[in-house]
Amino acid sequence: MKRLLSVWFLALIFAPESAFAMHIADGILPAGWALFWWIVAAPFLWLGLARLKERVADGGNAKAFTGLVGSAIFIISCMPIPVPISGSTSHPCGTGIAAVLIGPRLTFVVASVALTLQAIFLAHGGFTTLGANFFSMGVMGGLVGYSVFNLGKRFGVSPVRSAFMAGMLSDWATYATTSLELSAALHGDGPFGTMFLAVLTAFVPTQLPLGIMEGFMSAAAFKFINERRPELFSFSSGKTVANEKAI
């Protein structure tokens, strides 16, 4: 118990820095783990590209729509949000609202590009760790966001509340997966569970409130779009929203 408490204490000291660990930087993962996550992530990226190819073949402006909505999600994910408990700033993932808007498979593509751009131009994340970051943010974030939104709708929860849950849970899913990836690679000879607990605890002060904030943001964004351009949400179900109205 004493050991666990000291781990918790140690993790809390470094909680403000955990905001930067949202994407795993190059060098943290040993070669074996980096390769492992690339192999795990690759089929999802392939699925995403196959879906994009299908949408492009259907006609319309699917490519431009995906690219520009991806840019918007990228900008949203760079918004600094002050986190009340840790006193640091962090930023939302954006994959929850992206999955609701363009579907999970196109979210895979958009997330992979966003992570690459962040790694190259902002030194946020990494190239060798791209597989791990893509799996936690793009795949887990996208799948959880999309599933929660649709499950909510199926069980009669209002779409705005479903969007809130999608945003919040996709953010938490991303961090839980990142904690797993980090602790699996970093525990060395020490127990995996203790490292997992330390990493997860370090994330909690920033990510617990951040997830809730991302939920509120996703809900507000959903409400805003739904009131003005509800047809944009039909894109995720395979419909073409291009060339009508102002688009």
Partner: protein, 257 residues
């Protein structure tokens, strides 16, 4: 963010911006591989200081360098401390702080040093690469290395789209801010969400005009790329020299020691 994220520094003329993007990218990836395979912290630190020195040599502003490196280096320190306490079994040092017992372990310290060094070396190297290679050349380099052209096309669209939308985003954000849209947590979240929604709608509108503009320019479903200039003898010689330097370093520091 615009200045840090853009090609602001990479379009300057210096000996590194003149090098072929494919070779720079390939060499950076090979060095990165060597760094994450290394168990000797010397190799990553050599590349860290070489990259840092080169950044100063080509006249990059100190503020831009610190801006990019401070975050990852801060986290490298955190990883070092966490591993020192949590990895390994052999106690090296014990102490008490606010009633909590802490044990620093020797294997953890060693692992922490290696991990932090790898982070420092690889991050500095990639920061240097981004500072000396314009985005369109990086995308062309990725294509030539076998990355699917559809992915590269979406990347180029997204990269361009960021600058198109960033201006609208900034205007909307400032307008909301001066109207006290962020004065309070709940109001701030709602305003932030509205801003996100407005940017997404603006993106959708822009996507239509972008598509129309692409069609008007003869777009038929895939973006044509100009062929990359052929590599010259000098390029190959430079590349071979860099690889020999890296192999010698790796051999001396990793295999030889």
């Amino acid at each position: 963010m615009t200045k840090l994220f853009s090609d602001y520094y990479s379009v300057r003329d210096n000996f590194l911006t003149r090098l072929d993007a494919r070779l720079k990218l390939l060499f950076a990836l090979i060095v990165m591989g060597a760094i994450i395979l290394s168990n000797n912290p010397a190799l990553p630190w050599i590349f860290f200081f070489l990259s840092l020195w080169t950044m100063f040599l080509i006249g990059l502003p100190r503020r831009a360098i610190i801006g990019r490196l401070s975050g990852p280096l801060g986290f490298a320190l955190v990883v070092f401390v966490l591993q020192s306490f949590l990895a390994g079994k052999t106690p090296l040092y014990n102490f008490q702080l606010f009633g909590f017992a802490f044990v620093v372990k020797s294997e953890g310290v060693r692992l922490g040093i290696v991990t932090a060094s790898r982070m420092a070396g690889s991050v500095a190297l990639f920061v240097l690469l981004a500072f000396v290679t314009p985005a369109h050349k990086l995308f062309a380099g990725l294509r030539s290395l076998g990355v699917p052209s559809l992915w590269v096309e979406i990347s180029a669209l997204m990269y361009r789209g960021v600058f198109v939308l960033l201006e609208s985003f900034g205007e909307m954000y400032n307008a909301q801010k001066v109207r006290l849209g962020f004065s309070g947590k709940m109001r701030g979240m709602q305003t932030g969400g509205t801003l996100a929604g407005a940017v997404i709608i603006r993106a959708a509108e822009k996507s239509a005009s972008t598509h129309e503009a692409m069609l008007a320019r003869g777009y038929t479903g895939s973006m044509p790329y100009a062929p990359l200039p052929p590599l010259g003898k000098r390029d190959y010689l430079r590349y071979a020299g860099a690889l020999i330097f890296l192999s010698a370093l790796f051999f001396v520091l990793e295999i030889g020691s």
